[in-house]
Structure formats: C-alpha cells, structure tokens
C-alpha cells in the first residue's frame, strides 16, 4: 500500500519541513535551557508571568499567534519596518519568519520537560559541583546534561515533532511559497483543496507514522526517566 512515490514538490516540502524543524529545535534548546533553569530556581511573580507567556501557544488558536506575528513582522509592523529601515527585508512570508514563529509556537514543548527535569534534579548536585571548582559551562556539561538527559531528549523530540505539526501559524504568516514556507502540512492542505487525495494521503500517512514513532520514543523515555508530563 505504501508505495511511496513522491513528487518533486513533495520532496521539497519534506526537505523544508525537516530544515525548519532542525533549526527550531536547535534554537529552542539554546533558549529553553537557561529559561527553564531560571524558572526552576525560584518562585517570584515574574517567573509566573514568564511561565504563563511561554505556555500561551498551548491554549491560543494558532491563528492568533500567526496574526500578531504577521502584524509585527510584516512590512508595516514594528519589527518588520525596523528591519526594512536597516536595509533588510521584513519577515512575513519568509523562512526566517516561520522559523521565528515555530520557536515561539513550540516553546512550551521545550520548556516544560526541561523545567520538570531541572525541578527533579534540584540544586544540590550543582552546588556540589561548583564547590568542587566547576564553572558554569563545566557544571552544565558534566552535571546538568548527563543527569537531565531524559529531559533534553524529550524536549528536543517534542519541539521537533510539534514543529512538524505546525499549520495555522505558518499559513497566516508564511503563506505557501515553495521552498520557502510551503511545509508538509500546508502541502497536504493544498493537495486536498485540489482534490488530489492520493497525494494528500501519502503525505498524511507519512506524518502519522512519523508522529507515532516520535511519541513512542518520548513515552518510552518518560517511563525510564520520569521526566515530563505532556
């Protein structure tokens, strides 16, 4: 049944989706790690506010996020126009734009498992390491990373997978420019619109299998490390 014969457009969308997911994941881990560490190291009101903002994409319709991003990053938005005045282009309907959108949109999926892992870790091991002469990065690579590796794996996998499943935000902000913003989910939508059900089916099935595999990995890790509830 799964005689996958994909068109050049399909391949292009797959490549684009993977590129987007890869960069999103890398950026998210870099941002979410210090953010989650800060969130786990106290209980101030500011932390609650930040945690709430980070979790917003979980409850908002993706169109809302997409709309505000379009307004902000577009040619007349504050960021878009600032970029243009510097001789750069605005970010609406660009790969960089949807990358930024994906980072914001998948942020809770990176922050939450890391926060959970850091809370479980506590501070004692890190304090011990610093008393033994380990500096910030040393502590991160020799204590936090190995002891929270389950959390990092889950955060990375979920960020990646969740970005694959992104649709509304990209449709709002990115449109459907082949090779630039036309990712798999958009392409499936277009195939369906064009009544090309066979093509839509091939890609959809591919995504089902992929998502199953990813979630399976995440839950297996969760059972082993008890790191995150998603």
């Amino acid at each position: 049944m799964l005689m996958i014969e994909l068109s050049a457009t399909d391949w292009q969308a797959i490549r684009l989706t993977l590129t987007l997911c890869f960069f999103t994941t890398v950026i998210l881990l870099t941002i979410a790690t210090p953010l989650a560490w800060w969130l786990s190291s106290g209980r101030s009101a500011l932390r609650v506010v930040v945690q709430t903002v980070v979790a917003l994409p979980l409850v908002l319709p993706p169109t809302v996020l997409g709309f505000y991003l379009l307004v902000t990053l577009g040619p007349r938005g504050p960021i878009g126009s600032a970029l243009e005045s510097m001789g750069l282009s605005h970010l609406a309907f660009t790969f960089e734009g949807i990358l930024l959108a994906s980072v914001l949109y998948s942020m809770p999926f990176a922050v939450q498992p890391l926060l959970e892992a850091f809370n479980n870790l506590g501070r004692r091991h890190v304090e011990v390491a610093s008393s033994l002469g380990a500096g910030v990065f040393d502590r991160f690579f020799t204590v936090i990373l190995p002891l929270c590796r389950g959390g990092f794996i889950v955060a990375a996998t979920l960020s990646f997978a969740h970005t694959v499943g992104e649709f509304g935000v990209i449709l709002m902000l990115g449109g459907s420019i082949p090779g630039e913003t036309k990712v798999l989910s958009i392409l499936i939508y277009e195939h369906t619109e064009a009544m090309n059900y066979a093509a839509a089916h091939r890609l959809s099935l591919l995504l089902v299998v992929f998502s199953f595999a990813v979630l399976f990995v995440v839950y297996s890790i969760n059972r082993r490390f008890q790191v995150a509830k998603v």
Partner: protein
C-alpha cells in the same frame, strides 16, 4: 589567618545578623538548634547564597564585599552536606577526582592514595555509587572535598543523617581528618557530642545571631551551656591514650589524673579526648577501696552551682588542671558538707572515648 563574616538578612520572620571573625585554624563548631540560621550562615560563607551587603573575607582574600563577588568555584572550599550528594552518574573514583581534576596541579596538596587511606576508601573505589551505605557515601563525599585541597572545609551537619552505629564508624575518620589534614574546618552541628569530640572552639548561634567564639573548655565551663541541654553537663578530658594491659584496660592522662579506660584497638594510641558525663561521676570524702568503680581521682572543688530539678553541679579541678564536672543531689552535697576549696575523690563510673 581568619574568617571574617558580616551579614544581615531578613526573610519573612527569619532574621540573621552576624558580625564575627573566627581564626581559620582547627575546628570551629557552629552550634545551635535547627532554624537558628547556621546553615544560611554557612551558605553565605560558601557563596551559595548571595546576600546583599554581606561581607566575607578569608585571610587576605575578599570573597564578598559591596563591590566584589568571588563565585563558589573560585573560593577553593570543601563542602560536605548532611546528605552525601555524590554525583550519581559518576563512579566513586569519578566523584573523588571531580574536584581534584579541577584543581591546579600546583595547588594539589593531597593525592588520591593519601585520602583513600585516611578515610578507608580503598575497597570502595571500584564500586558504583548507589551500592554504598550512607556512612560510606559520606566518607566519599569527605574525600572528594579533601581532594580539591581546599583552603577551608565547611561541614553542614555531616553526621546528622546517619544512624548511631554509622556515626560511631565515621567519627574517628572525621577527627583524624581534623588533626591530620591541617585544613581549617567550620562544622555545623546541633549534636553536643560532635562538638565535644571535634571542636577546638565553639560559636553558639540562636535566632539568627552568633555569639562570640569561645574555646571548647570555656564553652563547657558554664553550667547553663547549651551543650548540656540534652544529656546534662559533661566534661572533656584531653590526654594521651596508652596501650592495653592484660585486662584490656588502657592508661589515659598524666600521673595523678590518670584513668584506666577500655578502648577498641581501632582507637589507636596518642592524644585523644574523653567525655565524662557529670552524672556518671560520684564524690567520696575518703578513697573507698572496696568498690567496683576503679577510677578514683583527687579533685579540688572550685564552685558549687545549683541546677534546676534539684541537682547540684560541682565544678572541680583535677591535679593536671583540667576541669571535671560532677552532678549530685543537694542532699548529698549537704550530707558531705561540700564546700569550695575542698579536696574530694571523684569516682568516675564510665567514660566515652571521643577520638
């Protein structure tokens, strides 16, 4: 060399106000009940807690002041917590060498073989961390701290989480370490026996304030000393422990103040401390010959103190000048017509070997 700390802190209804200076030498015990702020003070010294306006100086190094902040990893400290907190993803050797590898070779004064011998770790080196008992873990944690050749060792109730048996097993290592390593230590504890066994000086802490530091003998000289809260007054005698005779008894202390005590072989010989509970000592006006208590010492009564609960504490001085406290009833004191300046015989029923 001294350790200078000035800190002020208000957190909810907890307040800390400390302005003190301790010699960076020997063992300084920080004694107080839980919640008196001793752990907070230790965390400030270590740099794990950054309290605004606090000042910490160690010798000629400034660790914290208005304008300066030296992070923990640069202070060259050894820290040992109540729970052993070994890094679970490393082996015993990995844990031991974690700090050693991060210490500049020129600053390394202790090597793995010395430290494992000092703490009896040889047989543990190859074992996974999770297989160790509580006492073994704590010994590894001590060794790990020592192997960074710290300038100061901070011990936060290192024995509190251990059962009595394990405590007894690890105590000799601690006191040996205090003598052999030459590293100044700050020991946080709420256990009087740890203070009596290990400390050279005591700082009493209550409600976030630290008293002036005093020597162990001074701390034990006051009948109302907080060290006596649990088991009643007691004295610490210092002296040399001799070898066992044919009855398994060993001589302790100088001529005239000599005791015969029973001690395990592991105690070794040489300078040690004995702890004598005041209630384990009786008084006689003549030297009783036919009595099972064989340790009789001539002491001179310095002072009589009335204690609550119908008890009298005799503050006496032994012939070698050390203080021996004796607890009796007011009735006995009256019957024997005891008074200051009088020579009496102190009959010591039992002693605890401290080192």
């Amino acid at each position: 060399m001294s350790l200078q700390i000035r800190a002020q802190l208000q957190r909810g209804d907890f307040s800390l106000e400390v302005d003190t200076c301790w010699p960076a030498q020997g063992v300084t015990a920080l004694f107080g009940r839980s919640g008196c702020g001793k752990t907070t003070l230790l965390r400030i010294i270590a740099g794990l807690e950054r309290v605004r306006g606090a000042q910490v100086r160690f010798g000629d190094q400034c660790w914290q002041s208005e304008s300066q902040w030296l992070p923990v990893e640069k202070r060259r400290l050894g820290l040992v917590f109540q729970e052993a907190s070994l890094l679970p993803h490393l082996s015993v050797t990995g844990n031991l060498l974690y700090g050693y590898r991060r210490t500049a070779p020129a600053l390394r004064r202790l090597q793995l073989p010395d430290v494992s011998a000092m703490l009896g770790l040889e047989s543990l080196l190859a074992r996974p961390v999770e297989e160790l008992s509580g006492g073994q873990k704590q010994r590894v944690a001590l060794g790990r701290a020592l192997l960074c050749s710290p300038q100061l060792l901070l011990l936060d109730e290192p024995l509190a989480a251990l059962d009595t048996q394990t405590k007894r097993e690890i105590m000799p290592f601690l006191s040996r370490l205090a003598q052999a390593s030459g590293i100044p230590m700050v020991l946080i504890t709420h256990a009087p026996d740890e203070v009596q066994r290990l400390a050279d000086r005591v700082v009493f802490m209550r409600d976030g304030c630290a008293d002036e530091q005093c020597s162990l003998q001074e701390a034990l000289a006051k009948p109302e000393s907080p060290l006596f809260a649990d088991e009643g007054p007691s004295s610490v005698l210092e002296g040399e422990l001799g070898v066992a005779d044919e009855h398994g008894m060993r001589l302790f202390g100088p001529e005239g103040s000599q005791l015969r005590v029973q001690a395990p072989d592991a105690a070794g010989t040489g300078p040690t401390r004995l702890r004598v509970l005041a209630r384990d000592v009786s008084v006689a006006l003549d030297d009783p010959a036919r009595i099972s208590i064989r340790n009789h010492l001539v002491v001179t009564i310095r002072q009589l103190h009335d204690l609550p609960d119908n008890r009298v504490l005799l503050d006496t001085v032994m012939q070698d000048g050390q203080t021996l406290l004796i607890e009796i009833t007011p009735w006995s004191a009256q019957q024997l017509a005891l008074a200051a300046g009088q020579h009496v015989f102190a009959l010591i029923k039992s002693v605890a070997l401290m080192r």
